[in-house]
Symmetry: C2
Subunit: 180 residues, 2 copies
DNA sequence: CTTACCATGTAAGGCGTTACATGATTCA
DNA sequence: TGAATCATGTAACGCCTTACATGGTAAG
């Protein structure tokens, strides 16, 4: 079992780029990490408190007007912790594709239902792909400026490649099911 | 929130193909569903008891010699339950790619470490791909015989397509990181 | 004026893994 | 005879999501 909790590492990773509020951390996850990682407020805020308690992050008040705001930053200890986690090999990559599960048992439900699941999957991928392509284009235009962008681009391109493979598969899978 | 627990659906799905023991269910998951779903004994056995309690599965003794063995089968109620789950749209497909996470924060650790994570990922994919290709070939040779095979083939081809996309990405990602 | 967004947090409960516990059989 | 595989199960615990609770601000 891992000593490092993933949520801590993600937060620390984001804080290694810039100081952020809990709300902003969630935002970053929902945009940059969306297609390969996710977390809810219910895990982010407690993790943030815990990180501060352990000295891996610091907090400061950043309130403007009447709006409360707590800005978190990474400490030196936090940076070491992150580096150590980055150094050790990946434990496991996990996927839980409900779409494939429903497809695997498709004979119970029939061809039409299988196709409708593939259609829904295809729609979702098609709607997300332009965003990824847009992000890649933007990143390519100022790759020299910031090193973090280079790594971000890497993950975006992973997304683009796999999404395109998904779309190809959707087409072929439907063709196979329809020729009957 | 879903009323249906995924573990119940997976088990019921496997039982819709054939009668199985808990041990065999785990085996099926570790082979057929491996690259898009997983579960441990700690979730399978309790789920099985629960399924019987709710009348969705039946159990019978299948002991041979001195070896105890409990064979589970799907009931009519179980089949309806499965069909209903199969009918409703997919809730969500989830992935948690630790590899991409470590890569996203790669600037903290440097190019060499990023490459070593990609290498490890590539190795894993390369070692699993032949198994998928072998499965696809076998399935293609008796696709007419059994309808369940057709759907199994669909998921295997999903695996092959995405794995190939992964490998392409690995190559390009490393090339990008190395040109420096 | 109301909807969407900014912003933080807690409590309950679900889900599932890991580790443990036990014991038979098969094969080298 | 020891390792691998067959076979079933429980207990502790961790992690996370959902739902709830609260309140300010910006924009239409």
């Amino acid at each position: 079992m891992a000593i490092e909790k993933k949520i801590d590492c993600v937060i620390l990773g984001l804080l290694s780029h810039e100081d952020l509020t809990g709300y902003e951390i969630k935002k970053r996850m929902d945009t940059f990490l969306k297609y390969f990682w996710g977390a809810s407020y219910g895990s982010i805020y407690p993790a943030l408190s815990d990180l501060v308690k352990r000295g891996l992050a610091g907090k400061r008040d950043g309130a403007e007007n009447n709006r409360r705001k707590i800005i978190y930053s990474i400490t030196e200890e936090g940076r070491s912790y992150l580096k150590e986690w980055l150094r050790i090999p990946v434990e496991k990559d996990e996927l839980r594709y409900e779409t494939l599960l429903k497809l695997f048992f498709g004979n119970e439900a029939g061809v039409l239902q299988a196709i409708s699941h593939i259609d829904a999957f295809e729609e979702k991928i098609k709607s997300e792909l332009p965003y990824l392509i847009g992000a890649a284009d933007t990143l390519k235009n100022h790759i020299e400026m910031d090193d973090t962008h280079k790594y971000y681009l890497l993950t975006v391109e992973f997304g683009i490649k796999t999404y395109r493979a998904y779309l190809e598969w959707c087409k072929e899978a439907k063709a196979m099911l329809e020729k009957e």
